[in-house]
């Protein structure tokens, strides 16, 4: 009887550690996904900045050309 209780506790502990491990992995996965999302957003922001600057520059150049007309 004592043996079976001991084994039962052992099984429970093993199960708990497995659950904990899978939770950790899940959290790590979440972190990675968020990092990916942040990276994607950052690259979009850089692209948007570039386009914005380009448009502003072109508008200024056009302004200069129109002054000459």
């Amino acid at each position: 009887m004592k043996k079976s209780i001991f084994i039962g506790i052992l099984v429970a502990l093993v199960s708990l550690s497995c659950v904990d491990d899978s939770k950790k992995k899940e959290e790590e996965q979440k972190k990675l996904e968020l990092q990916k999302e942040i990276k994607a957003i950052d690259s979009t922001v850089v692209e948007l900045e570039k386009i914005n600057e380009d448009i502003l520059k072109s508008t200024e150049e056009l302004d200069e050309l129109l002054k000459d007309l």
């Binding site: 009887m1 990675l32 942040i38 957003i41 948007l48 914005n52 000459d68 007309l69």
Partner: protein, 204 residues
């Protein structure tokens, strides 16, 4: 005896089953990570820590600014209440100041805790906000660019009409110079139009 053996076997099977199933779920979740995942994870962790440091720094600065403002306000209030009576300031103002300081400290602590526990969600939130801001800026630029295009077209049309009227009184050289300027402006307008339309597509 038979019962005991049966129970032990049952528990063993359960243990094996639970271990393998959890291991499988773990593998499937981490499937996206490549084999050299340790390096990637380390790199990502380092980047995350850097970002969090930046956020904490910026938050701290903002909060310090806020504290300075509040202190100023309180001092000002104290000065105002001075005219009402000395007792009010001596008792009221320092208490309020301490309260504000404690509140700000706890806010800062809470924010730090949140940053630690949110798996980078705060960073993602900030990144999304920045993206929105940039989109707004681009929208404004697009609007002003489109207005500029319309104005430029009108201006070019005007210049062309004026040039055709003044053609007789001009030298050929001056005419050509003016005509080339108009042509250049037309090209620029076209270029800007193309850029605006492609930027509009990106913004979507």
């Amino acid at each position: 005896m038979k019962n005991k053996i049966f129970t032990l076997v049952l528990m063993g099977v359960f243990a094996l089953f639970s271990t393998s199933s959890f291991a499988q779920s773990g593998e499937s979740q981490s499937g996206a990570v490549p084999k050299s995942g340790n390096e990637v994870v380390k790199k990502v962790k380092k980047e995350k820590v850097d970002q969090e440091r930046k956020i904490v720094k910026s938050n701290k600065k903002a909060i310090e600014k806020d504290v300075d403002k509040k202190v100023k306000d309180i001092k000002k209030e104290g000065e105002n209440t001075l005219s009402d009576g000395d007792n009010v300031i001596k008792k009221g103002a320092p208490d309020k100041l301490d309260k504000e300081k404690n509140k700000v400290k706890s806010d800062l602590k809470e924010k730090k805790e949140n940053i630690k526990n949110d798996f980078g969600q705060e960073t993602a939130k900030l990144a999304r906000a920045k993206e929105m801001e940039k989109k707004k800026q681009l929208k404004a630029s697009l609007k002003s660019g489109n207005t500029k295009v319309v104005q430029a077209k009108d201006r070019i049309k005007e210049a062309k009409e004026k040039l055709s009227l003044e053609k007789k009184n001009m030298t050929e050289e001056a005419y050509n110079e003016k005509a080339s300027k108009i042509e250049k402006a037309e090209l620029y307008v076209k270029k800007l139009e193309d850029k605006l339309s492609s930027a509009g597509a990106v913004k979507q």
